[in-house]
């Protein structure tokens, strides 16, 4: 079966970002100073654990960013291949079964029957009963009798799989880290007691927790709705997993969109001073004078009108929703550069008066070269700290913006959209809590990991911040 790749705007941006990330890693490995800072940062357990969690989320978003449209089967006498109107991603292939398991309405996690009673015709009499789900537990003959045994069996299997995976990862790590010293068993003991160079124990425990959770979920999700279904019968777990990409895209692209403007304007203002500085300062004072939400709302409303009047530009609904999300990132970037710009400007002003700058001037190095070679590398740590700190804020911000109605398109899965729906469900009777809990769990994990990672980066690159780190003083001997 043929297929055709669909390159969405955010896919392109995300892959460019991954390429840039790889280039940065290569750059760090060649720069002794940067390398030592990063090594120091990674010597922290919380940092390693959050990096492990973040890379799992990153993997999900990467898989979810390769889109294509499958070819439809050729009918008799047809010479042109037509493609499916639905765009699927690599990640969708993994979720192929749960994506198809669409019920008609609400059902509780792991349920075999719907949540609400329906009138059913039985022996000519209409009875109100809880109907069996079309997919959830459909393979069970008698759900009341077989359900518990089946679920338990799958959970145990999943747990075993997860444990096996963790053990394999741990052994591989032990074999790789302590090359040439002691037997494998000794090295395992060193890792487990936390006496290795890097605190491997912490990320391994994190991975173990994730694997032990994901194992049973993977074993169950093709036969049950692990986190229930929502009002239209869609699997909540699938929605949450698909929302990861949206959150990731908003978090990364919006922060990156702030960098070019903030860096260029900040360095220019600090370097040239005078009227350039005045102009840049005026620009960001005007921008910060308007509350961010309102400015974003105004921009998004305008984009909305533009998209509505130019409907012919898009092949599928997804492409339209995706461009809207891409533009939202650009808007967030264009409205949010003031903070970073202010920091860069102040740092540049400070650098401008240092001796090495005078030396560069005395040698007659042109302005552009001075800025690129001498100033930009010296303010990059600010850029890094601010972007990493921004990431988690933006994920939280997306939820608020979507609630206000200027966020991600409702046709795309997003945490904001899930919360928005969950809000009404929490006031239903019987209570529908699973969408809320799913969105809460995923979002908290992602944001918490991002926050811990950001704190680690800040502590490594800003020595002043290290002093504020909470630590328990060693007991006096």
């Amino acid at each position: 079966m043929g297929f055709k790749f669909v390159i969405l705007w955010t896919d392109l941006a995300l892959w460019a970002l991954f390429a840039a990330l790889a280039a940065y890693v290569w750059h760090v490995s060649r720069q002794p100073q940067l390398r030592s800072t990063w090594t120091k940062a990674l010597h922290d357990g919380a940092m390693l654990a959050s990096a492990a969690v973040l890379s799992i989320f990153m993997l999900i978003s990467a898989l979810d960013s390769v889109h294509f449209r499958g070819a439809l089967a050729l009918t008799e006498g047809q010479s042109v291949t037509y493609y499916d109107t639905r765009t699927t991603s690599l990640f969708d292939l993994l979720l192929a079964k749960p994506l198809l398991m669409r019920e008609s309405t609400y059902s509780a996690p792991l349920a075999t029957r719907a949540l609400l009673k329906e009138a059913v015709e039985r022996d000519g009499v209409s009875v109100r009963e809880l109907p069996r789900l079309v997919f959830g537990g459909a393979h069970l003959e008698d759900p009341e009798r077989d359900w518990l045994a089946d679920v338990l069996q799958r959970v145990v299997l999943g747990l075993a799989g997860g444990a096996l995976l963790t053990a394999a990862a741990a052994l591989a790590l032990c074999a790789w880290d302590g090359r040439g010293q002691g037997t494998l068993l000794e090295r395992v003991r060193l890792v487990m007691t936390g006496r290795t160079n890097y605190p491997w124990r912490v990320p391994l425990l994190t991975l173990a927790a994730i694997a032990l959770l994901a194992g049973p979920v993977a074993a169950l999700m093709n036969h049950y709705h692990v986190l229930g279904t929502d009002r239209t019968g869609n699997d909540v777990l699938v929605q949450a997993l698909k929302s990861v990409r949206t959150a990731f895209v908003i978090g990364t692209l919006s922060t990156l969109a702030t960098v070019p403007l903030a860096l260029v304007l900040g360095v220019l203002a600090g370097y040239f001073k005078g009227w350039v500085d005045e102009a840049v300062q005026y620009l960001y004072t005007v921008l910060t004078s308007v509350p961010n939400v309102l400015l974003i709302a105004a921009c998004v409303l305008m984009v909305q009108v533009f998209l509505d009047t130019h409907a012919e530009l898009f092949d599928t609904g997804l492409e339209r929703a995706d461009l809207k999300m891409f533009l939202l990132c650009v808007i967030l970037g264009l409205t949010g550069w003031a903070t970073l710009c202010r920091l860069v400007r102040a740092e540049t002003l400070k650098l401008r008066d240092l001796e090495f700058m005078q030396a560069a001037e005395a040698f007659g190095v042109p302005h552009l070269r001075t800025m690129a070679r001498h100033i930009v590398p010296n303010v990059m740590h600010l850029v890094l700290i601010t972007t990493v700190l921004n990431f988690s804020d933006l994920i939280l911000y997306e939820a608020v913006l979507t609630y206000v109605g200027v966020g991600v398109d409702p046709s795309l899965n997003s945490f904001g959209g899930m919360i928005n729906l969950a809000r009404n469900e929490m006031s239903r009777d019987p209570l529908v809590w699973w969408s809320f809990v799913a969105a809460f769990g995923f979002m908290l994990t992602l944001v918490l990991a991002a926050n811990l990672f950001a704190d680690g980066v800040r502590d490594a690159f800003d020595p002043r911040a290290r002093a504020f780190r909470p630590r328990v003083a060693p007991r006096a001997l």
């Binding site: 005026y282 005007v286 004078s289 308007v290 105004a298 009047t309 979002m443 918490l448 002093a467 504020f468």
Partner: protein
């Protein structure tokens, strides 16, 4: 002082002109008034006459920036940009774009007080709670209380404010039935409706604020005057409460002051979630109904408030720290 104030006001005026220009470009150039009319009238078939009538009713039928048909200075003044800007600057907000066409100025004047009822107690309680909590952490620094306190802060700031609202409404209104779920009433009755939003809003911001303030206090605590105070034999409580707190007030004022515009504008999300008819809910309704006149006005108004609160912050600096001279 007077010279300084005058200079600041003069600069503020230019900032306002900039904000006005920015919003104008956003609302009128990116999409022409014709697009707005089409969107507002709705429906598939919209005739040019309907559009012209809609524009004429709202005064959008003139050229945007430059009226070539007129003569002299009227080339500039008989345009949409000029008329809108002048009326905004004079605080004549006019009527909204939608079919209901409410008087924006009147709405703002009535809703303002509702917003203030929510936001002012919140602002004060927020300061007290955050400073109190962070001082507690600083008092127990390098101990388990501090460590787990900061961990709690990080977890709290990783939770979206929407979650606080949903859980809070569920817990306090549905399960415990302590307060009404949403709504608003005038007079003393308002307290019952405002209790929950104030408390939840406090909780939602406590994590980030307390962590920030803690860092500010710790920065002060390493300084020489603190050592001197301790050497004099003052108790730790007194050192923290009298010396460190006073010196850390400047960064605290800066950070708290950035919330001042929201004191008047109301917290957008909280007002609309709890059905409190304040300015925040007004904006959300306008965004939902795509009423650009209201959004435009609120952008302008909030810029005005931002500038005013910045001025207030600067005045507060010199009140807190006599060394700061405004010149």
């Amino acid at each position: 002082m007077t010279v300084y104030l005058l200079r600041r006001l003069w600069y503020s005026l230019w900032i306002l002109v900039g904000v006005n220009l920015l919003t104008f470009i956003l609302f009128f150039t990116v999409n022409t008034p014709d697009d707005m009319a089409r969107l507002n009238i709705g429906g598939k078939r919209v005739t040019q006459e309907q559009i012209d009538k809609w524009k004429a009713e709202r005064g959008y039928d003139r050229p945007l920036y430059w009226n070539a048909a007129e003569s002299g200075s009227e080339k500039l003044t008989r345009t949409v940009l000029w008329e809108r800007s002048v009326s905004l600057m004079a605080l004549h907000f006019g009527r909204s774009d939608s079919a209901r066409s409410v008087d924006i100025g009147h709405e703002i004047r009535t809703r303002m007080w509702v917003s203030l009822q929510l936001a002012l107690p919140l602002f004060i309680l927020q300061l007290i709670a955050s400073i109190g909590f962070s001082l507690l952490l600083v008092f127990f620094r390098h101990s388990r209380i501090d460590f787990w306190g900061v961990v709690l802060c990080v977890v709290m700031l990783s939770i979206s404010s929407l979650f606080y609202i949903i859980v809070g409404q569920f817990l306090f209104s549905r399960v415990l039935r302590l307060v009404p779920i949403s709504g608003y009433a005038g007079g003393l009755e308002a307290v019952r409706f405002l209790l929950l939003p104030v408390f939840l809003s406090l909780l939602a911001r406590l994590g980030s604020e307390a962590r920030l303030y803690r860092a500010m206090f710790l920065e002060e605590i390493g300084k020489d005057y603190v050592r001197t105070a301790r050497a004099k034999g003052l108790s730790e409580l007194r050192v923290l409460g009298r010396h460190v707190l006073r010196n850390a007030l400047i960064p605290i004022i800066t950070s708290a002051g950035s919330y001042l515009p929201y004191v008047f504008l109301g917290s957008l999300v909280f007002e609309s979630f709890f059905g409190i008819p304040g300015l925040g809910a007004f904006v959300i309704e306008a965004i939902g109904g795509q009423d650009f006149a209201i959004v435009r006005t609120m952008v302008f108004l909030s810029a005005l408030l931002y500038i005013a609160s910045n001025l207030l912050i600067d005045m507060a600096y010199s009140w807190v720290d006599p060394r700061v001279r405004l010149a």
